[in-house]
């Protein structure tokens, strides 16, 4: 019978969830077939120190603006990453290919091998014991071991004993952090001296835990502070699922079909099938089980279609804001390239037992245009101002728990998925509170939160989507078991962000990966 199967298991999507499920299944001797959108990048990443390249490369416009003026075409996109021409293949065409229609909501996803992890912020954190309490009991029990396996595999750094150690929960497996730039080093030193007062205000500061190498690994080199993080790391210091995919492809039990776009998933008797199309035409692939890891939006569409669920399902997505800090004592400092992702992170205790979370970034790796466009100054004077000011500034972001976005996904009669969403009424007062709290806390650390810089992002602009098909001990309609299995579609398992029961205000990728690893491991012993 098994000869008529294309594999024991088909994994839809090669992002962090997909690759994390593949490893344990291959170990257990299963034949794994992975399919993805296969959209490869055509532009190579800038290699070398960002400031050297900026100073000397006459062709820098090719990766900063793009041969087809990608950055100008994406002028209204919510994040500089969506404008980076090197990431065009990561984001382009996702919604159309997966029949997702965003209605006043930012809906991003990826057709690229490795998925959105090609362009992620690399933040890693474990869910705390309390957060895992929302998981079905057998799932929660196995998460700790899964976190460890993932963290050791992808390589993370930033571990040190600080006030966020418990918040992140990854220090046992983390390498030393990248060095802090002078501005954030100063903030951190100031924090050490003023901890009690800041704790009383509900502000805690620590190193950001990130999936960035500070020690070499096979085929990947550690961070050398070249500062090109925004465009992607040519050294491979930033984790991307593409690294794991390369390793998986060396495994004899692993088959890979890039460019197979799945249109439908179905349970059929004791097998499950996916129907889709590729350059070779329409095709059907059959296996004992199907694991959906296409990203929360695409996965949810396939799942709702499989069970014929036409009512809206709710989705969580973290409300987000950005701000800028100025440290007067660094005014006049010569600018230098620095690590471009989170260096310090903070947690905020907000009213109603809400926890906020955010990170701080050195702005030298972001085009100055990104700031100049939004200044209330004429462009010429804006550039004058920023060229003197930016080297004494730090950028920050802040996230609130995903349940505070009231978003929904719904299949329309044409089987397109409509994504809608708005912030709940609590978000505005909570953000105002966070703003005040950050202003006061950073002022004590010698940094001025620049008036007018605190900007709330549009719903969905965090690109953290989760909990559309949450795992439950007793799953209801459009909910899943502890193995991510959909009651209406046996043998189809949801293993990406869609299956998470909650989305707290923290980086959730490591949890998605650990959960996928756990599901695959538990499945292998069924």
């Amino acid at each position: 019978m098994s000869t008529s199967l294309d594999a024991d298991v088909i994994i839809v999507g090669s992002g962090p969830a997909g690759v994390s499920a593949a490893f344990p299944l291959l170990e257990a001797g299963w034949r794994v077939l992975m399919v993805d959108g296969g959209q490869e990048a055509t532009l190579s990443l800038p290699a070398g120190s960002l400031f050297d390249l900026r100073r000397t490369d006459p062709d820098q416009w090719r990766w900063m603006v793009g041969h087809q003026f990608h950055a100008l075409r994406q002028a209204d996109a919510v994040s500089p990453k969506l404008r980076a021409p090197t990431h065009a293949a990561v984001f382009d065409g996702f919604a159309a290919a997966n029949r997702i229609i965003a209605d006043d909501f930012i809906a991003a996803g990826s057709l690229a091998p490795g998925g959105l992890s090609n362009a992620w912020g690399c933040g890693v954190a474990c869910y705390t014991h309390d957060e895992l309490a929302a998981f079905p009991a057998p799932a929660a029990r196995h998460m700790a071991a899964a976190y460890q396996r993932i963290a050791t595999r992808i390589g993370i750094s930033g571990g040190q004993d600080d006030d966020l150690s418990d918040f992140f929960g990854v220090d046992d497996w983390a390498d030393a952090p990248t060095p802090l730039d002078p501005l954030q080093a100063r903030l951190y030193a100031g924090y050490q001296a003023r901890r009690p007062g800041l704790h009383a205000r509900g502000f805690r500061l620590g190193r950001a835990r990130v999936a960035v190498l500070t020690a070499p690994r096979p085929h990947r080199q550690p961070c050398d502070l070249s500062g090109t993080c925004l465009w992607g790391c040519a050294r491979g210091a930033l984790y991307a699922a593409a690294h794991d995919l390369a390793q998986l492809r060396g495994h004899p039990g692993f088959q890979y079909r890039p460019g197979f776009l799945v249109e439908r998933v179905q349970a059929q008797g004791d097998t499950a099938v996916i129907m889709g199309r590729s350059a070779q035409g329409a095709g059907t692939l059959r296996a004992r089980r199907i694991l959906l890891a296409a990203g929360t939006l695409a996965t949810t569409r396939l799942a709702l279609q499989a069970i014929g669920h036409r009512q809206p399902v709710s989705m969580q997505s973290c409300p987000t804001a950005a701000f800028m800090l100025w440290q007067p004592r660094f005014l006049g400092r010569s600018p230098e390239a620095a690590f471009g992702l989170g260096q310090l992170s903070f947690s905020l205790a907000l009213p109603d037992a809400t926890q906020g979370f955010g990170s701080l970034f050195n702005p030298s790796g972001i085009p100055v245009t990104e700031f100049a466009r939004h200044l209330p100054l004429a462009r010429r004077y804006g550039v004058d101002l920023l060229s003197s000011l930016l080297s004494s500034c730090t950028v920050g972001n802040v996230f609130l728990p995903g349940a505070l976005t009231q978003a929904s996904l719904q299949l329309d009669p044409d089987d397109c998925l409509i994504a809608r969403g708005a912030y709940s009424d609590q978000v505005a007062p909570l953000m105002a509170h966070a703003h005040r709290q950050l202003r006061a806390s950073f002022l004590r650390l010698g940094a001025i939160l620049i008036p007018g810089s605190f900007t709330i992002g549009r719903p969905g602009s965090d690109i953290h989507y989760a909990a559309t098909l949450p795992m439950r001990t007793h799953p209801g309609p459009a909910q899943t078991t502890d193995l991510g299995e959909l009651p209406g579609a046996p043998r189809v398992h949801i293993i990406d962000g869609a299956a998470l029961p909650i989305l707290p205000a923290k980086s959730h990728t490591l949890t998605i990966m650990a959960n996928a690893d756990r599901i695959a491991r538990d499945m292998a012993v069924l």
């Binding site: 400031f51 087809q68 350059a279």
Partner: protein, 423 residues
């Protein structure tokens, strides 16, 4: 992809070769005339060749552009046979076939051209290939049908305004080429219609050619289509075809194409019509002048010519055309005065939004140069807290002055803007 292109020296073929090379795909050119370009292999090929065609086994895609477009020197059977030959050659090596057809393709098309295309389409679809039906292709060098139209518009003192007005759906040759390179985003045996979803009147299309290519705005003279049909009837098919009346008549019978879904399937956004028309010295010169002013304003220095050209290309590729130049002469002459227009409000909103887009484009492009990096990041100049404080105070002061000037000069600025906005 490893692409073989028939008709590689033609209007579309030339641009396709260029785009394929830029995207890093190896290309094999199949044409009568030799192609000598780096990164392109060439093999002699004629539509009328007989015998089986053997292509290198590593070819993954055959894009079939070669066609007899005008002279009727090639019999329809020959074209059909040539297509069969290509399909067989593709099957032998497992390559895809992409056939560039025509909006006129129909089994009951008024021209032989349209009927032949329709026959070939059936063959390619049966073989699981891809069909691309372009609308009215324009832009780039004046070749192909576009070249003929350019020539006519250049020659004629007036433009014909046919009544009832036929509509064309334009597509820039470089956008069409992108569609061809993305065919794999569509399933096999797809028929892809690639053109602007909204047609424009044929006379407006000719007018755009006149304005963009010859910097003229000739008068349009009404010509009833019945007259053309009658003339064709009187002259007989052979003479009518020689005079181009046949093609004209097929234009009158052009079926509208629904292209929205196909463009979306290929994630393609077409550039606005005038982007491709702006090769005329005048429009280009105007853009370069504007770019020089905006970039000097941003950079506080003379921008390198390559940067100015890049700005012009970006605006031509992405923006609608202007009826009149966007910037007043006093701003073009003294770029510092652009500060008075930067962030201006209360005047014409559409004009202000367009200026804002172009200033942002100039900002982004200016930064992405070594010169821009030095200016934007403040590299290679003395720093220190005192100097920086002074520079910041100066920038804020200058901006304050700008705001005061904008208020003081309001009536005069509003008048200048209104004149430019054409309201």
């Amino acid at each position: 992809m490893n692409i073989a292109v028939t008709g590689a020296t033609g209007y579309i073929g030339n641009r396709l070769l260029r785009a394929a090379r830029q995207a890093g795909y190896p290309v094999l050119a199949l044409s009568r005339r030799a192609v000598a370009q780096p990164g392109v292999a060439w093999r002699a090929y004629d539509l009328a060749d007989a015998g089986p065609l053997v292509l290198p086994a590593d070819i993954t895609t055959i894009i079939h552009l070669a066609a007899d477009t005008a002279s009727a020197a090639v019999a329809p059977e020959v074209e059909a046979h040539a297509a069969r030959r290509l399909i067989d050659a593709a099957r032998a090596i497992g390559a895809d076939v992409v056939f560039v057809s025509s909006q006129t393709a129909r089994d009951d098309a008024p021209t032989q051209y349209g009927r032949t295309k329709w026959c070939i389409e059936r063959m390619v679809l049966e073989a699981g290939g891809w069909i691309v039906r372009p609308g009215q292709v324009y832009g780039g060098p004046a070749q192909g049908l576009f070249g003929v139209l350019c020539q006519q518009v250049h020659r004629l003192p007036v433009l014909p305004a046919f009544l009832p007005a036929p509509a064309v759906q334009p597509v820039h040759v470089d956008d069409l080429v992108q569609a061809l390179l993305r065919y794999r985003q569509a399933p096999p045996a797809s028929l892809l219609c690639i053109a602007d979803p909204i047609g424009i009147g044929f006379t407006d299309f000719l007018r755009a050619i006149a304005r963009g290519r010859t910097a003229r705005s000739p008068l349009a003279v009404p010509v009833p289509t019945a007259l053309v049909n009658a003339a064709a009837g009187l002259l007989g098919p052979a003479r009518a075809s020689r005079l181009g009346l046949g093609r004209l008549r097929s234009l009158f019978a052009l079926p509208a194409m629904d292209t929205v879904a196909d463009l979306q399937c290929l994630s393609l956004t077409l550039r606005p019509l005038h982007a491709g028309m702006s090769r005329s010295g005048l429009a280009r010169r105007e853009r370069l002048r504007e770019g020089r002013a905006l970039l000097s304003y941003i950079l506080r220095d003379t921008p390198p010519p390559s940067l100015v050209r890049r700005y012009a290309r970006a605006v031509e590729a992405l923006r609608p055309p202007d009826a009149v130049p966007l910037l007043p002469v006093w701003a073009l002459r003294r770029p510092a005065r652009l500060a008075w227009l930067d962030g201006i409000s209360g005047s014409d909103a559409a004009w202000a939004a367009e200026l804002s887009w172009r200033l942002d484009a100039a900002l982004m492009l200016a930064e992405a140069t070594p010169q821009g990096a030095r200016r934007f990041l403040g590299l290679g100049r003395p720093a220190g807290p005192c100097r920086s404080t002074l520079r910041i105070a100066w920038a804020i002061g200058a901006d304050l002055l700008r705001r005061i000037s904008q208020v003081a000069l309001r009536p005069w600025l509003s008048r200048a803007v209104r004149r430019k906005a054409g309201t």
